[in-house]
Symmetry: C2
Subunit: 134 residues, 2 copies
Amino acid sequence: MDRIPILRMGKFLLVTIQIDLYDRLATNLESDLVNMVNKTGARGVLIDISALSIVDSFMGRILGNIGTMSKIMDAEAVVVGMQPAVAITLIELGLELKGVHTALNVEKGMELLHEKISFDEDTLDEADYENNSE
Amino acid sequence: MDRIPILRMGKFLLVTIQIDLYDRLATNLESDLVNMVNKTGARGVLIDISALSIVDSFMGRILGNIGTMSKIMDAEAVVVGMQPAVAITLIELGLELKGVHTALNVEKGMELLHEKISFDEDTLDEADYENNSE
C-alpha cells in the first residue's frame, strides 16, 4: 500500500493509521494531508492511532510534523485513541508531541475540535466587532 | 495486526479497511462489528474501502456478510469509496453485494444513513400514531 486514505467529514479530515509507517508512506501521508487541508479548507485533522500498539521515534516525529504542518495551514491536529503503552513509550523517547492535541477517542476528539473552532470564531467575531466600532 | 479498529461516531460506526483481509482478521472484524453494534446501539455501519485497489471473492463475501449481519442487528451497512476497478471486479465475480448500500465517499454515506434513519423513525412514528388512535 502506497497511501493511507484521508476521509473528509464536514470541516474535518480523518486518518486512521493501522500499519507501521515506513519512509515513503509517511512522507506521502504528510504531503497528502497538507494538500487535502489546502483543497478542502478543513479546520481540523483527526489522527486515529488506536490500532498501533508500538511506536518508535520515527512515528513520534511524523505525528509531531503533522501537528506543526496543520497549525501552519490553520487547522488543528488531534491524535486520538492512543494506547497507554504508546503514551509511555513516547515520553520515554522524550517526544512530548508539542503542538498536537490528544483525545481519548474520535468522538471526544471531534468535540475538542468543535470547541476550538467555535472559540476561534468567537474571537474573530469580537475582533471584527472592535474593528467596526472604531 | 490482529484487529481493524472500529471508530464510533455518534449513531454510526466507521471502519477503514486498508489492508487485505486474511481469514482471522476478517472473522475478527465481523465479530467485533456485531459486538460493537450491540454495545453501542449504533444505527449504521460505514465501511471505507477507498484504499483497496484489488478485491477477491473472499473480500466480496465478507462485505456481504457484514451487510447482512448489520441488518439483522437493526443497523444499515454502507460501503463507501469503492474504486472503479473494484466495482468491475465484483460484478465480474458475480458478487452484487445485495443488502449493502454504497456511496461515493464517507460524507455521502453519512447523508444516506441519516436519510434512512429519519425515514425509519417517521414510519415508526406513524405506526405509533395509528396504534394510539385505535
